[in-house]
Symmetry: C2
Subunit: 251 residues, 2 copies
DNA sequence: TTCGATTTGTTCGTATGTATT
DNA sequence: TAATACATACGAACAAATCGA
């Protein structure tokens, strides 16, 4: 059974890994759009000619990675970048009292520039390649708390402009996903403490001599492909960064 | 089967959750010590009078939570707090070049004191209860980078003293686990930027006017019971905090 | 070194329960 | 109500890794 597909595959992979890869390929190709249901387990079992248990095991992993979402009685869906999902998995700033709140985003500038090494390296693109550069201020409870500097390769977001970015309906990653078919599935963040640059300090209503949290984020889509680089400055007078792996997994 | 215990339990629990709870109870009770193998799947299936698949599903979740560890052909083991595990899941400070290294710990002080609200609250104990208070400096590549202030309830660590803590063989959580049967399985960290107190600045070889990273950690054992509170100051001149959910899960 | 027992890993199949439409 | 889809549970067979005789 397993050996019937082979197809020039060197390393032996269990069947369910093969199935997982094929499902992932369909996701990358955009065959199943975000928010839509993928074919039912029994249909996939038929298509791939494997048992339903093997399909389940493949989907299990994609669900664990939050790429797919299962709902009993309804189906299996491609995860959407809703505000809830962002708040939970991609936005880590919380009030010192533990309050979680989705920020209001205010765009300050939008530019198309050539990538310097500080952006080209984390994005894995050539120096001098075109990137879009967006500056945002994030407000919590009406007050500015985070200053974001976002960089994305222009090649991945062909027609992006200030209007499209500024007048999007939902979250930023929701825009990437809905308009460009780019699905951010993982982020990596590196944090340090430093004095904020004058511009950031001013925007965040703090003195440039007050310590701020600097976050350098790289967002990845499938196959660990970087798609966004983001440098954030956070005023931690009343907020902090929460790193709480696992909290709300299982139970 | 599931309904025989009930005990005022409204919500229906699937069998495998029941099995998972019973396995967890055995772990809490110390029936199976860390590093040891738990009974084989077929034996557990016999003991609990459920199918082997149900046992597998229960163990699957405990493995995902890194409480158990499976090895084909050998058995299923209670995870041990080795240095590797600490480096990977509980120590998040890395060099700015991405280098990961286990720190050298140097104890500065060890005291038994009454818990103030700042420690009693996160630890979920009464104000005034006895706690041990340990101060450490962590060195990376021979140079001090982190200043740790650790607080643990004395009630949980009966005979702990300076010698036991200072002359332990492995990691701190390894000591908790091996000597007191307390297994740290999850941590929650809240980060902010601030000027370090004079003592910390001095120890870390930085000026008190240089921003430092402050980390407040709570470590939990089974059932979300807090067992340790830790406040750390990090000199982020050459190091940073890495928050990289998922990176090395699956593949 | 080989062999056999043990243990987990993978795959298949079936039946039934529960949630949704 | 009926059909559909995922969730749970059972069982069986074989593969792959480990370990000791």
């Amino acid at each position: 059974m397993a050996n019937t597909l082979a197809a020039g595959n060197l390393t032996f992979n269990p069947l369910y890994k093969e199935v997982k890869m094929r499902i992932t390929r369909s996701l990358v190709a955009g065959e199943w759009k975000s928010g839509e249901a993928i074919p039912s387990e029994s249909r996939l079992a038929g298509q791939f000619n494997v048992s339903i248990g093997t399909i389940r095991k493949a989907i299990d992993e994609l669900v664990a990675e939050r790429i797919l979402l299962r709902q009993q009685g309804r189906g299996t869906f491609v995860a959407t970048h809703t505000e809830d999902r962002t708040l939970f998995y991609f936005f880590h700033i919380v009030g010192k009292d533990g309050s979680r709140e989705l920020p209001m985003t205010e765009m300050l500038s939008f530019r198309k520039v050539k990538a310097g090494p500080e952006h080209a390296t984390p994005l894995g693109i050539a120096r001098g390649a075109k990137i879009f550069n967006v500056q945002n201020v994030l407000k919590l409870a009406g007050k500015p708390v985070v200053f974001d500097q976002i960089s994305v390769p222009a090649a991945l977001f062909p027609d992006l402009d200030e209007d499209i970015f500024g007048k999007r309906a939902g979250t930023i990653y929701g825009l990437y996903q809905a308009r460009y078919g780019i699905n951010v599935i993982r982020i990596s963040e590196r944090l340090s403490a430093a004095n904020p640059p004058a511009e950031a300090a001013c925007l965040l209503g703090m003195r440039a001599t007050t310590p701020a949290l600097m976050i350098r984020r790289v967002a990845y889509t499938y196959n660990d492909t970087p798609v966004e680089h983001r440098v954030s400055w956070v005023n931690t007078a009343n907020h902090e960064y929460l790193s709480d792996l696992w909290k709300n997994e299982m139970r």
